[in-house]
Amino acid sequence: MADDHARVWREFTETCRAIAEGKAPINQVIPINTVLTDARKYYKLHTKAELITYIADKGLERVSFFNKKKWEKNPNPDFVLYVYAYTFRSLHIPGYIAIIENKRKNIWLIKSFHPPENNNPNIGSIFPDFKKLKVLK
C-alpha cells in the first residue's frame, strides 16, 4: 500500500479548517500530553482554538513528511493506529508535528508539536550546493 501521508495531512488540515469555521466540533482534534504546553512555550499559541486555527490557516509552512510508525502506546492493540510525523517551518522556527488518525472514533490526536529534537543542521543542509562540489562527504 502506498504511503498515505499526503491524504492524512490533507484530511487533518481539512478537519482543522472545519473546526475553525464552526462546521465541526472542536473535540474532533485533541492535543494530548504536552502538545498545548509546547505550543505555548515555543510558538506563542496559547489556546487549543489558536493552535487549531493556526493549522487551518496554513500557518505550518513547508510541511514535509518525516515518518510513519505504529503507535506503541496504543491502548487497544487490536485496532492498529499509526503516528504520522511531519516537519515544518513557522516563519523562522522549525517544527515537528505528529498526528494520529482514529477512524473508528472519527477523531485526530495531536501527539507532538514542538521544534525538532535534532535541530542542529550541518553545513551541507544549509548550503546544499556544497554537496555538489564534493567538498563535504
Binding site: 500530553n33 498545548l36 505555548r40 496559547h46 491502548p75 477523531i107 490526536l109
Partner: protein, 212 residues
C-alpha cells in the same frame, strides 16, 4: 462543566482530574502563574487538557495590559511626549493616552508599542514619513553609535568611553522579562535622546572621543 467524561484515546472512564501550574510570560508585562486543569487517563497514561482557553486568555490579556502601561510609562519617564509620538506615528490624538489609562489597545497596538520599545529610533523614521533613505541612515547611525559607545578597543581614551557608556535608559531585565523602573525621572535632553538612539551623529561621537 468539563468536556471529558471518558478518555478520548481509549474510552476508559478511569480518568482523574489534576491541576498543574504554568508560567505565562509576556514581553514587558512580566509573568504570571496560571492554573491549568488537565485529565490523566490511568489506563493509557495519556493526559489531555480540560477547556482552559478562557483562563489562559484572561491571563494573557492582563499581562498585555501591564505591558502597554509599562511601555508608555517608560517613554514618559524618559521625557517623551505622548502627543508628539501620536503625531509622528499619525495616530488619532489621545490614542496613546487612552491606551495608557485603560491598557487595552488592539493586538496591533500592543505589537506597535513593543516594536517602539525595542527600537525607539523608529520614531525618528516615522517623523520623516518613513523615507527609505532616512530609515537606512537612522538605522546605520544608531548601530554605529552603539558600537562606538560600547567599544573600548576603538579608542585610546578608554576611561572616557567607559564614562560615556553605561546607559541607564530602558534597562531590560531578561530574566524577569519586564522593564525595570528607572532610578530617577529624567528630563528630556539632547544627551538623553542620544542615549536612546535619536538625533545622534557618528561624527559628533568621534570628535568627542578624540578630545583629551
Amino acid at each position: 462543566m468539563s468536556q471529558f467524561q471518558q478518555c478520548p484515546v481509549c474510552d476508559s472512564v478511569d480518568i482523574v482530574k489534576r491541576e498543574k501550574f504554568e508560567n505565562i510570560t509576556e514581553s514587558f508585562g512580566g509573568s504570571m502563574q496560571v492554573s491549568i486543569a488537565e485529565f490523566y487517563c490511568t489506563s493509557c497514561e495519556t493526559s489531555f487538557e480540560d477547556d482552559n482557553d478562557d483562563t489562559i486568555q484572561a491571563s494573557i490579556d492582563e499581562l498585555k495590559s501591564k505591558a502597554v502601561i509599562n511601555i508608555l510609562n517608560d517613554f514618559l519617564h524618559h521625557g517623551f511626549n505622548l502627543s508628539s509620538m501620536e503625531r509622528a506615528l499619525e495616530l488619532p490624538q489621545r490614542t496613546l493616552a487612552k491606551w495608557k489609562s485603560n491598557g487595552k489597545p488592539s493586538a496591533a497596538g500592543v505589537s506597535l508599542l513593543k516594536i517602539l520599545r525595542c527600537f525607539p529610533w523608529i520614531l525618528e523614521v516615522a517623523e520623516n514619513k518613513y523615507d527609505f533613505q532616512i530609515a537606512q541612515k537612522t538605522f546605520t547611525k544608531t548601530a554605529l553609535d552603539y558600537i562606538v559607545d560600547n567599544s573600548s578597543f576603538m579608542d585610546p581614551f578608554h576611561s572616557k568611553v567607559t564614562q560615556k557608556s553605561s546607559p541607564i535608559f530602558f534597562q531590560f531585565n531578561h530574566t524577569e522579562n519586564n522593564i525595570s523602573s528607572p532610578q530617577t525621572i529624567i528630563v528630556q535632553t539632547d544627551s538623553n535622546k542620544k542615549q536612546m538612539g535619536l538625533n545622534t551623529s557618528i561624527s559628533e561621537n568621534i570628535v568627542q572621543l578624540q578630545l583629551p
